[in-house]
Symmetry: C2
Subunit: 223 residues, 2 copies
Amino acid sequence: MENIRVLEIKEDIASRNNEQAKSIRAELKEKKICFLNIMSSPGSGKTTLIVNLVNRLKDRYRIGVIEADIDSAVDAYTVAEKTGVKTIQIHTGGACHLTCQMSYDSLCALGVDDLDLVILENIGNLVCPAEFDTGATANLVILSVPEGDDKPLKYPLMFEVASAVAVTKKDVLPAFDFSIESAEKNVRMRKPDAPVFFVSAATGEGMDCLVSYVEGEIAKVAG
Amino acid sequence: MENIRVLEIKEDIASRNNEQAKSIRAELKEKKICFLNIMSSPGSGKTTLIVNLVNRLKDRYRIGVIEADIDSAVDAYTVAEKTGVKTIQIHTGGACHLTCQMSYDSLCALGVDDLDLVILENIGNLVCPAEFDTGATANLVILSVPEGDDKPLKYPLMFEVASAVAVTKKDVLPAFDFSIESAEKNVRMRKPDAPVFFVSAATGEGMDCLVSYVEGEIAKVAG
């Protein structure tokens, strides 16, 4: 039937998003700005980790933070208060992920030309944010100990797009049935070459290595 | 411009889904089958809670379980092995939620005519599953202690569609900065009349009240 035309909306949205993401990434690299997109489940400790990372890096680098949520601004207030770096809260109005356009608008609203590092806390969701390239120069995926070591089995794409994985809340390991070996094996199944860090933002354990990783990402972009 | 037509795809999908959900719910009530849709973040303890609930109810009711995941069948194996009730695993093929059609196909595949209670473990995601009515007769939303008491602020729709909320992993409360009062207040902001249960599937604390709630839901449908 020649009078029927099939419009692949999802693919079209995705390919347009990916094209725009590439151009944002190119512009950020041109300006030597590292853009770190942090993704995870709700409540895995993204905000606490960001506060900890920023406080360990802010004396040496100029940093800004973008907090994305469907509703509420509690995370932006926490980050602004506990780190002192410039921070904005964006609301997605119900949307389960950030498109590249939302990410670009956020970078413009924050003002990034004077920064070395921009950290984006994406919507807490292990599914949808993985499908939309934000234009970030690196994706840090967080898995917290209470969630269980099997998450990479159930949410494959999120771990496939990870540049690195941080397993958080290591301090509560004794209270949960969580195997560090299984977690690492399950991450490797999805992304063989991603570094995996086991950390506790509460006690500081393992944070030095994660800080070194982020410094490496900043150095990569700074060339 | 009369030659332009705007197609509201999202609204159309949602309204068709909702119509179909109503007809599934009517059919289930006709057959006196309670259909409990359990939703939460990844790793909040849905499967452990289901195993516990089923083992406390299976001597008095005929139960079936539907496990939904993007990938892997670990949860279905766990439930089948630890409860002995009939269980199926469905894979969404990357999708972040179940549509009503997926839910209906799952009910048909499981075979529900000889059951009093069907439990659906939805995809671990606090956003998208809330937008799609599965045809369930009740929605139980789970929030685990390690996720934090602020989740109803950030994920409003999920708590608005809750028939009841279970706060899980109460046994690890001392290890986390989680206020039972704040959690309850935040849930009430989204859904004033939903009962809130504080439970630990690991120790059994609070499970009696949750079991009574589920029995009430079964009785409602059985009329």
